[in-house]
Each structure stands twice: as structure tokens, then as C-alpha cells.
Amino acid sequence: MIINHPILGPRDAAEFTYLGDVSLLNRPDWQAIDAAEQFYEYQYLRENPAGEHRELWYHEQGDRSWLVVTRNTLTHAISKVEMASDAARARGNGK
């Protein structure tokens, strides 16, 4: 697979390490009443879709940036690559 890095251009996926579903950006509020339940769902449960999947890749052997890659889990075709910081800001995560 080739990941088209927004800054560095097309890079081999072997330069990256894979973390998982982009939902891992949505860290729950630790002060919420049901924080334990929220963290259980955040940490352990996954949609695991067959089809389009937004996921976190870390460019470990490159510029050490986190990317949000939109990839089809049935075909491995990558349709979109964003900087994770941009994706997080778009979700209102602040940084």
C-alpha cells in the first residue's frame, strides 16, 4: 500500500505503524459520571467495518506525524489522507 502523505507525498505503508480506528482521537471526559463505561467503550469496542474505514497511521520512519487515512478494508484502496491534527481540530478537539 502507498499512503499519500499530505506533506511528504506518496510513501510506502511499511514506513508507518498502525494504531487503529480514528475513534481513538475521541478520548472521553474522565470526569463524566459514566466515565468508566465510556472508557471501556473507547478502549475496547470497535465498529470494525467492512468497507470504508478511517484509521490512524503514524509515520514512524518519516516525519513522525500522525495521519488519518480513509481506506477501504475490502480492497485496501486509500481514498483520503489527512493530518491527524487537522482531523482533531475539525472535531473540535482543540490541538
Binding site: A14, Y40, Y44, E47, N48, L74, H76
Partner: protein, 416 residues
């Protein structure tokens, strides 16, 4: 039809006209007591033991393609029970004992070959860890044997003992481990289940679960609705897709594992050998091909194929312990989709929906578990309580903090 030496001789004299199909191809009935979704090794084993050991009569196995076309036909055929943790080891030892009696039990030649498995040790710390694991195995009634480098050299002179980076310092052997003809496991269970009245319905894809007031009433399929008192999902690799019909999110990601076969060679490898410093396991099939594999690719996928960096990594690991395989050519490679669970251990449990049961999360160690998985799932489906060796495989263990993390890497499925 019972297989025996006498039957083979008789058929040879009669022109082989007496062999019939091994299982029927029935139309689905409108209602069953128990429906198993998934005609793979685990699903067929479940149906077989439900009929044979638990006295259930009205059972169907639904398979979207053909039986045994998924992971039971895609693995590296290794059986073993060399686990460390209490939640796992009794289960896998139960499985190994079932393997030992399997062929006589279901009257089918599954080519169970206890040629032994050897886990190589490359450092002092690893020796400590492996001896601890061997002791845990022995405490749970399994067999384990620590071998020195000289003992290993006598049995496997072709290994790369004096490698500068990963010298072989010893090994943990389980002599009762080995290999099995994987397709024959599916066929043997299918035949045995069919003989006991189980309907094996192929080309029947489950497209939905009918759930009314918190009770599962049956399954919607490509061949219409089929009612059931109990529905058991047994589709490791695609578990999330089936359980999504019940709006259940699982502690599972689907990943691809690749496996490889070399061209046929004369006998060179006596048993199963695993590399302790990378991830590589190899055995030699009875046809002569070296059957080997390594790590999963490491990203979510439902495609039954992987990518080349993993191929390179697996082959490098093979070269590291067995330089001679560099002269063999790779004949075939393929991928299978794995349920990678959050702690690396499987799940056999009821769900919060009455009548809906779940078996999955086998990571890439499901083949060796086939008999015990089937037996324990059958026990759960028939009696509504877990078998004693599968009590730890609860679906809610992640919420309650009772993970069974054999490798100790946490909730990161691609590292298990």
C-alpha cells in the same frame, strides 16, 4: 457409511461404485432448535458435538459459501497446547486431547500427526520465560520438555545455531503437538454431523438477525427467513459483520494473516519449529512443501490477501533460523481474515440478547482450538452454561477487567 480398511478393500474389488456423497445438501426447514452461523471448522464441530454429545436433534449449520472454505482451509495446520495463563491452558489442553482421539471419534482420516512442536530460545531471559511456560503447561496436565542446544542440534542439525544476532540457546518442546490435515477436519465434522441429522446448508448467507423484544427469533438469509430457538454466531474473521445485525460492537478488529507453502521437498523438517526472536513457524506437509507463516499484516482488513512487506519479513525470519530454505522456491501464498481480539484470547459466550450466542475472537490461533471450541460452544448452546475449561472466555471480561493477555501487550489487536 462407515470407513474401515475392510470397506476400502471391498470397494477396490467392486470398482469403487459404493462411495457416496459424504453429506446431504438439504433445503432449509422453516424452523430449527439451534442454528449455527458459519460452516467452518468451529461451526461444524459445534454442530457435531451438539448432536453427538449433547443429544440435540434439530440443528442447522448455515454457510454463505461452501463448508471449510474459510480459515479452516487457510491455516498452517499446527496443533499444540503450549499456553501460559490459567484461562487458556486447560482449554487448549482439552483441545489437544480431543485431537488425539478425533479420527476414531468421527471415523475420518484427518491425518493427525503428533510430530512435536519446538519453540526456539535465543536469550537467557527467554529461557526463563519459556521454562515458566513449560511449568504452567505441566501443572495443567500437558507435556513440556526443555531441550538444550545440543539436544536440538541432534534432532535438527540444519538450524542456524551460531548466528551472531540470534544464537539458538535451547528450546521448549511439546512432543504431543503436531499437524493435522486441515480440510479433512471440516469434512470429518461435516460428515459426522450430517450422519446425526444436522442440516448443513451451503450457499446460504445470513443477511440479518430477527430480534423481537430482546429475543433472537431466527435469521434472515439469502434463502429466506429461518426461525430458531437459539442462534450461534461462529464466523471468526467476520464476527463484527454478523453481530452488527444485532447492533453489538465487539472488542475485535479484523486483520489478515498470510501463510506460505514452498515447492515440494524431500523430508527435511521433522516437526513444527518456531523462531523465538522474530515471528516464524514452519512445518513440512506430507506432500513435502514447507508450510510457514509469521505475523499478521497489522491493519484492519476483510480482504483475504496481504501485502509484500509482511512476505519479506516472514521470509527473512525463516532465513534467520533456517538458511537452507533460501534455496527453496515459494509455491503459493494466501491470506485469511482473523478476528483479532483486544487481549489476544477468544470469546465463547451468550450475548445480552436471549437466544443469541457468540463464538469468535480466535486471533490467529483458532485451528488448534477447533475441537474444544466446538465442544465448549455446544455445551453452552445446549445447557446455557459455560464448559468448565471455557469459563474465562466471557464477552464482558473487558468491561470487568479480566483480560487474558497471553502476550501482555494490552488492547492493541495488531500486536497480539
Amino acid at each position: 457409511m462407515h470407513f474401515s480398511g475392510f470397506k476400502v478393500i471391498k470397494e477396490a474389488l467392486m470398482g469403487h461404485k459404493g462411495w457416496g456423497p459424504q453429506w446431504r445438501n438439504p433445503e432449509p426447514k422453516p424452523h430449527y432448535d439451534i442454528i449455527i452461523i458459519g460452516g467452518g471448522g468451529h461451526g461444524l464441530a459445534t454442530a457435531y458435538y451438539l448432536a453427538k454429545e449433547f443429544g440435540q436433534k434439530n440443528i442447522a449449520v448455515l454457510e454463505k459459501g461452501w463448508i471449510g472454505g474459510g480459515n479452516v482451509g487457510r491455516n498452517t495446520t499446527i496443533i499444540r497446547s503450549n499456553y501460559l495463563l490459567d484461562g487458556n491452558e486447560p482449554f487448549y489442553e482439552f483441545s489437544l486431547k480431543l485431537w488425539e482421539g478425533l479420527e476414531q471419534d468421527f471415523n475420518y482420516n484427518a491425518m493427525v500427526s503428533q510430530r512435536g512442536i519446538l519453540n526456539l530460545i535465543h536469550s537467557d531471559a527467554q529461557r526463563d520465560a519459556f521454562i515458566r511456560r513449560g511449568n504452567a503447561m505441566i501443572l495443567n496436565g500437558a507435556d513440556a520438555e526443555y531441550l538444550t542446544a545440543d539436544q536440538i542440534r541432534a534432532e535438527n542439525p540444519f538450524l542456524n545455531f551460531d548466528d551472531a544476532r540470534f544464537p539458538i540457546k535451547g528450546g521448549l518442546a511439546q512432543r504431543r503437538g503436531g499437524t493435522v490435515r486441515h480440510d479433512a477436519v471440516a469434512w470429518g465434522y461435516a460428515r459426522g454431523a450430517d450422519q446425526r441429522g444436522v442440516d448443513i446448508i451451503q450457499n446460504c448467507e445470513v443477511t440479518g438477525l430477527r430480534i423481537e423484544n430482546g429475543v433472537c427469533k431466527g435469521v434472515e438469509t439469502s434463502r429466506g427467513f429461518i426461525g430458531a430457538n437459539k442462534v450461534g454466531s461462529c464466523v471468526a474473521g467476520s464476527s463484527s459483520r454478523i453481530m452488527a445485525h444485532a447492533n453489538i460492537r465487539l472488542p475485535i478488529e479484523s486483520h489478515v494473516l498470510q501463510a506460505f507453502v514452498s515447492e515440494g521437498l524431500k523430508p527435511v523438517i521433522p516437526g513444527v519449529i518456531t523462531f523465538g526472536a522474530g515471528h516464524f513457524y514452519v512445518s513440512q506437509s506430507d506432500k513435502g512443501g514447507l508450510v510457514f507463516g509469521g505475523d499478521i499484516d497489522g491493519y484492519n482488513t476483510y480482504a483475504q490477501r496481504g501485502n509484500l512487506p509482511t512476505v519479506e519479513d516472514v521470509c527473512e525470519s525463516g532465513m534467520a533460523i533456517m538458511p537452507m530454505i533460501g534455496r527453496a522456491r515459494l509455491l503459493r501464498m494466501w491470506g485469511g481474515v482473523m478476528d483479532m481480539s483486544m487481549d489476544g484470547s477468544p470469546i465463547i459466550d451468550k450475548t445480552h440478547i436471549d437466544g443469541l450466542y457468540f463464538n469468535g475472537g480466535w486471533c490467529y490461533g483458532g485451528f488448534k482450538a477447533t475441537p474444544a471450541s466446538g465442544w465448549c460452544y455446544a455445551h453452552l448452546l445446549a445447557k446455557d452454561e459455560p464448559h468448565e475449561v471455557a469459563t474465562a472466555y466471557r464477552l464482558d471480561r473487558f468491561r470487568r477487567g479480566y483480560m487474558i493477555d497471553e502476550k501482555g501487550v494490552g488492547a492493541q489487536p495488531n500486536l497480539h
